[in-house]
């Protein structure tokens, strides 16, 4: 069969979609929901890896030294920490250094602290990198036991909690996605079945006139694929807006790590989502054709 009239197939596919609008819309909504969850899953997975990299490059534990410790005592704390197992390297942060960091963090608002050295209200500290992040709890306790250590902050805790939560969301979205995938394929195959039934007479004529199997099937496959692609496109738009909002939210309220910028991950998302949409549509219509269209 020559593929010399693509519009013939497109026209028939569109006719099929508009013949039973309610079913088509239902199918598109299901595909959209499924691919939306697929997008959430993909974004969470990608970002968990991305954040993991950041954690490894980040100072994990910070030991704050008693306010009134002398500089000899501070140095003792530093050397005791550097001798602990699992410490890869550590840096001493003086009160003045801390003030610098604070100013840098405040940026434009830093002028309010002009003339202050930090000694009045900031603690000196030791930033500790470790070899094995899994054993950060043990290291944290060992550091806390050292004299003149006022308190130990371990961001790894927060990070791990966030990762645990995202893991749960990720697995839940994967599970829901698989269920919706099956539902979507089922609904697509049902819409295609209705299209086949509506064109029963035409298919019968086509068979007698000598239409090849692929010629008869092509508009229906195309109809399924279009449903998948439209669902995919809608879900991509929603994911685009949603992710932009999440990035902004993270920056404003939960600035512990960065998320992958949208532009960086967009081509990958568009590719996978559309491929998924096309496959869902094709599989859905293939099932309908195997069951309801004997050529």
């Amino acid at each position: 069969m020559r593929i010399n009239r693509p519009f013939y197939f497109l026209k028939n596919a569109l006719k099929g979609m508009t013949r039973n609008t309610e079913m088509t819309v239902t199918a598109i909504i299901t595909v959209t929901s499924c691919l939306l969850l697929f997008g959430v899953f993909m974004l969470l997975s990608a970002n968990i890896n991305f954040i993991g990299e950041q954690i490894r490059n980040q100072c994990q534990i910070q030991a704050f030294i008693e306010f009134d410790a002398t500089s000899e005592e501070e140095m003792l704390v530093y050397s005791q920490i550097s001798n602990l197992p699992n410490v890869s390297d550590c840096t001493f942060v003086s009160k003045a250094d801390a003030m610098e960091e604070y100013r840098a963090y405040l940026g434009a608002d830093a002028s309010a602290f002009d003339g202050l050295e930090g000694e009045e209200f900031l603690r000196s500290s030791v930033k500790v990198n470790m070899n094995d992040i899994e054993k950060s709890k043990e290291l944290e306790m060992a550091i806390a036991a050292i004299g003149n250590v006022a308190k130990v902050s371990n961001r790894q805790d927060v990070v791990q909690r966030v990762i645990d939560v995202t893991d749960v969301i990720r697995n839940a979205s994967l599970g829901a996605m698989i269920i919706l995938l099956l539902v979507a394929i089922f609904i697509i195959s049902n819409t295609i079945k209705l299209s086949v039934v509506a064109r029963k007479d035409e298919i019968h004529i086509m068979k007698y006139v000598g239409a090849t199997a692929s010629f008869v099937r092509r508009p229906f496959i195309l109809e399924g694929i279009l449903t998948g692609v439209i669902g995919g496109a809608i879900s991509l738009v929603l994911i685009g807006f949603g992710y932009t909002y999440v990035i902004k939210f993270m920056k404003d309220f939960l600035d512990i790590f960065q998320l992958i910028p949208l532009v960086q991950i967009l081509p990958f998302m568009v590719g996978t989502t559309l491929i998924f949409g096309v496959l869902m549509g094709a599989v859905g219509s293939a099932i309908a054709l195997v069951k309801h269209l004997k050529v």
């Binding site: 020559r2 009239r5 007479d201 004529i205 006139v209 239409a211 090849t212 199997a213 010629f215």
Partner: protein
């Protein structure tokens, strides 16, 4: 099969038996042949096996034993993907016309050409030609619902003819028409036959068979019971 047969035979049934599920026999050791250019009636009571014979030719069913030949090709030996191309050699006309109601006369006929991959240009010249031939030159833009039964069957015939098949199979083409209309449709078939197309027609109409005075093959309980060169319609009970 000898040389002469190969050149002139359109249809050949060699000892053909059709068995359906539940062991129902559709055809029972049937043998006959039809030459190119012949006009043959296939008659018999309901259940005699007429449709089975037609379905063998269009490769909808396969014989349990024996062989079916069409224009030198063994139909029951065709691979599935060859069957559509085989069907393009046959034009089928139905008792109930089988026109698509949401398409015009022109579009109904054009569909047959679109399906076989004809170009737009071919379609634009060929469809009006065929519609003129069947006497519907003025009705190309009408929908089937606004046509009489006879006119609808003419559209059906045009659709069967448009791809220039070498064989027309008509399954009770006048079964739904009054006798005056039926005669005019039969005249059209005769004209088509005169131009060289082989015609195999299933009918129940005694009048038509007797009027036409063509070859008649009679089936009964799946068996070929008569084959008359210039036949008249007689089915013994």
């Amino acid at each position: 099969m000898d040389f002469v047969q190969e050149r002139t035979v359109m249809i050949q049934f060699d000892n053909v038996t059709v068995v359906y599920k539940n062991n129902v026999t559709g055809l029972d050791k049937v043998s006959f042949h039809i030459d190119k250019g012949e006009f043959v009636f296939l008659v018999g009571k309901t259940g005699a096996g007429k449709s089975s014979a037609i379905k063998l030719l269009t490769a909808e069913i396969k014989p349990f034993s024996g062989d079916v030949w069409l224009d030198g090709v063994k139909v029951n030996g065709l691979k599935n993907r060859k069957i559509p191309f085989h069907r393009r050699k046959i034009g089928v006309v139905f008792q109930d016309f089988r026109l698509l109601r949401d398409k015009t006369v022109y579009e109904n006929v054009a569909l047959a050409m679109e399906i076989v991959g004809a170009s737009k240009k071919q379609i634009r010249t060929e469809v009006p030609n065929i519609l003129r031939l069947v006497g519907l030159g003025q009705k190309t833009r009408e929908y089937p619902s606004s046509l009489s039964g006879g006119e609808q069957q003419r559209v059906g015939i045009a659709r069967a003819l448009v791809n220039r098949p070498s064989l027309i199979i008509a399954d009770e083409p006048t079964g739904n028409l009054d006798s005056a209309t039926a005669s005019s449709i039969m005249e059209l078939f005769e004209e088509i036959n005169r131009q060289g197309t082989t015609i195999l027609m299933v009918t129940h109409s005694e009048k038509i068979v007797n009027d036409m005075n063509k070859r008649v093959i009679v089936l009964d309980h799946g068996m070929l019971v008569r084959d008359d060169k210039k036949g008249v319609y007689t089915i013994e009970d």
